[in-house]
């Protein structure tokens, strides 16, 4: 269950957020959503695959952490063993809400930062304070606000990305058949990746269109990210 509250000094003076990474803090994730704006950083650590949102059938880009539900091979002794953490991981337990005179019409609302009070990171004894004793926002909270702004921007940039992928037939379905060192096999379906030959066969106009929208670089980053698959298998194989 989630219970979101708009962050305010009066209400959250004593609230603290644990910044470790651990299964008990909700980090046992097989993957998380990622955005083309961060593909460059993501591909240095994680393979990027596309999956369909089960509620809408729309494509989502995801960074892969493991090979089965609730398996996160980057969790290690209360830390996250990677040089870059996806925005959607770092954002926990915050979310952007919209506040305004008329919540039904988005143009009259302001994005505001809210916090999930039921999140296992949220407590009053350990972790980073949201507000200093004088009521000023802490550096931690200021960074979180900055991150939420970046996520907001990444969402907007992502909006037409999926349309562009479909328009140019740049996705193809993929079945991953993986054999681990111990001989066990894993077959993962329902994954999609960038169709490289379709990308290389795009005409100049299409490439210019993708480049203008800032989508060309992320496409190549997504392709490059697949070389992170082998290191991820190796993580699983580590004794």
């Amino acid at each position: 269950m989630s219970s979101f509250q708009i962050v305010s000094a009066s209400r959250h003076q004593r609230t603290r957020v644990i910044t470790d990474y651990h299964a008990s803090l909700g980090d046992s994730l097989m993957y998380t959503q990622t955005f083309p704006l961060e593909f460059r950083d993501i591909q240095s650590c994680y393979p990027i695959f596309f999956i369909k949102d089960p509620d809408s059938g729309q494509f989502l880009a995801t960074a892969l952490f493991g090979f089965e539900a609730e398996e996160n091979l980057f969790l290690n002794n209360r830390s996250w063993d990677a040089s870059y953490l996806p925005m959607m991981i770092r954002r926990q337990p915050f979310l952007i809400a919209r506040q305004g005179v008329d919540p039904a019409s988005p143009e009259n609302t302001q994005p505001v930062i809210s916090i999930d009070m039921d999140h296992p990171r949220v407590n009053e004894s350990q972790g980073e304070q949201l507000f200093l004793d004088n009521g000023e926002p802490s550096v931690f909270l200021q960074e979180a606000i900055e991150l939420m702004k970046n996520i907001h921007r990444a969402h907007q940039h992502n909006e037409n990305f999926q349309q562009a992928l479909l328009k140019y037939d740049l996705l193809e379905s993929l079945n991953l058949d993986i054999t681990f060192n111990n001989g066990s096999k894993k077959s993962i379906s329902h994954f999609y990746s960038i169709n490289e030959s379709a990308l290389y066969n795009l005409a100049g106009d299409a490439l210019a269109d993708l480049n203008k929208q800032g989508y060309l670089q992320p496409l190549f980053m997504a392709i490059a990210s697949l070389s992170r698959l082998r290191p991820l298998i190796d993580r699983k194989d580590r004794p």
Binding site: P54, S56, G57, Q58, E172, Y192
Partner: protein, 523 residues
């Protein structure tokens, strides 16, 4: 003689004409006149003659057909008010006292390897045949969809066809044929068919164009059969002595609310002298009573239909519906392809829509023409001969299969139903098959051609749905002993698969709403 086939002329719009145009145009490189790389395809449609606009159920084959034509399934579902059809559900056919059975689009579990029918028959405590052997059947009662929003276009979790608005379907195909596939569209009414010296059709005169010439003419003029019937005089072979239904009353019934559930299959409810169809589109039902005018009157038939509609809605609603009357001569032409003219759709034949065979015959006819399109006039007669053999066989098989639905009834007190049991009304081929099925359950040897319309599994669903008994063999067979060991495990597997599907599939209404919002993905 230089006799290449270049120009194809389809006479008549409607579902048959435009579906045929789409199938042929999608297979061939169609060129507008004045270019010479491909065939030319022209469709003449009369703005003064309206299409019949019924035929709202398809087979699963329609998915493949639409995909080949190049239509997006999302666009199709939205523009034709379409929904998913997973089979037919029959009520009151055996005893008339609330009996039901299902004919799902999925063959029994592991059908290729094992015939489960004898093993189902051997049990006394058991679910219905269709439920025991096919997971799809259990989706019907909960009105579940055959797929999820994440399932790509035209792919499925369980096999399905469609319910659709036939008028909107023809309009959608027409736009696609003209805008995308390069079909030439001429709006004019045919006034005369002009023959050449060798009795081929040379051209078609119309009320507002110069005569339209062609190398192959496709007659999609509906029951008028202007070319094959009226011009060439190829007679209709009447089948009303086998299948008595020759009239229908049709109407549309609104859903009580926008969110009302949509059925997963066509509902077919037996009446005194015919049966009522109930087809759930996304925005309304199509309901109609098809009956034999020899056995009931139009007034009685409308009372039965109104009563049925009342059971779906309210008394006040049922009182105000307006019914549209259709009559037809059940039967098919002595041949379908004569000289350089081939008939598709109602011009070729028409039979009651009990198993929705009308559109699938259009698909199959057009597909064979598209593939076998003779390069030259000199070989056309060979293609025509093969086409006629194949489709005469198919029509005979349809007649047999539809008749099978009637001959197992126990409602002997009603004249219509008892007349259906009279020996002279049952084709010999069907009598013979039923005699055989008393001892041998239908299986692969009952599918006599590779591309048979109804697989032997369909015979099983109808036979055992209607309470037919195949006697167990009086001697031991090794294959059956082995199969008996497998069978109980397979019944269990089927039940598990059904439970899994039930928990993962959305309702038809929910899926259609989602498709309207998000669309289905192509991959």
């Amino acid at each position: 003689m230089n006799d290449p086939i270049i120009k194809i002329v389809i006479v008549g719009g409607g579902s048959a004409g435009w579906l045929t145009a789409g199938i042929i145009a999608a297979e061939h490189c169609i060129s507008k006149p004045a270019s010479s790389e491909g065939f030319q395809l022209t469709l003449i449609e009369s703005p003064d003659i309206s299409t019949i606009g019924v035929g709202e159920g398809t087979w699963p084959s329609m998915r493949n057909t639409l995909e080949k034509i190049g239509i997006s399934e999302t666009d199709f579902l939205k523009s034709c008010d379409a929904s998913f059809k997973q089979g037919t559900y029959f009520k009151d056919w055996a005893t008339g006292k609330g009996d039901t059975y299902a004919h799902p689009f999925t063959v029994p579990h592991r059908y290729a390897d094992i015939n489960l029918a004898p093993h189902w028959l051997a049990h006394t405590e058991r679910p219905s045949f269709a439920e025991a052997v096919c997971p799809q059947t259990q989706l019907f009662s909960e009105r579940l969809a055959p797929k999820q929003i994440t399932t790509p276009e035209y792919a499925f979790n369980v096999n399905y066809g469609y319910h659709l608005n036939a008028t909107k379907f023809a309009a959608m195909l027409k736009r696609h044929c003209i805008d995308i596939l390069g079909v030439e569209h001429i709006e004019a009414t045919v006034t005369e068919v002009n023959a050449s010296e060798n009795s081929d059709i040379e051209s078609i005169s119309t009320d507002r164009t110069n005569p339209i010439s062609g190398d192959l003419f496709i007659d999609c003029t509906g029951s008028r059969a202007l070319l094959l019937g009226k011009f060439y005089g190829i007679p209709l072979q009447q089948k009303s002595h086998i299948l008595f239904n020759n009239s229908a009353l049709a109407t549309q019934v609104a859903y009580p609310t926008e969110d009302a559930p949509i059925e997963s299959c066509t509902l077919s409810t037996a009446q005194q002298a015919g049966w009522i169809w109930d087809i759930g589109l996304s925005n309304r039902r199509g309901v109609g009573h098809v009956y034999s005018s020899e056995h009931t009157t139009e007034d009685e038939a409308s009372v039965d239909l109104i009563n049925h509609i009342e059971s779906l809605t309210t008394t006040a609603y049922a009182k105000q519906v307006s019914l549209r009357k259709l009559t037809f001569e059940p039967g098919f032409r002595q041949k379908f392809w004569h000289k350089n003219c081939v008939a598709i759709g109602m011009s070729a034949g028409f039979i009651e829509p009990l198993e929705a065979s009308a559109l699938v015959l259009v698909e199959l006819s057009a597909a064979m023409i598209a593939e076998q399109l003779p390069a030259r006039r000199s070989i056309m007669d060979i293609v025509a001969k093969r086409f006629n053999e194949k489709f005469l066989f198919r029509w005979e098989r349809i007649i047999d299969f539809l008749k099978l639905h009637y001959v197992l009834t126990k409602k002997k007190q009603l004249p219509y139903w008892s007349d259906n049991l009279i020996g002279s009304s049952v084709p010999d081929s069907l009598k013979e098959a039923i005699e055989l099925w008393r001892y041998n359950s239908p299986w692969h040897y009952d599918t006599r051609q590779v591309d048979e319309l109804f697989p032997s599994a369909s015979f099983q669903y109808v036979l055992y749905g209607m309470g037919f008994k195949t006697l167990s063999s009086h001697t031991e067979r090794k294959t059956e002993q082995n199969a008996a060991k497998l069978a109980s495990g397979l019944f269990q597997e089927n039940a598990e698969r059904a439970a899994k599907l039930k928990s993962s599939l959305p309702s038809n209404r929910e899926l259609i709403n989602k498709i309207n919002t998000f669309g289905l993905q192509k991959i």
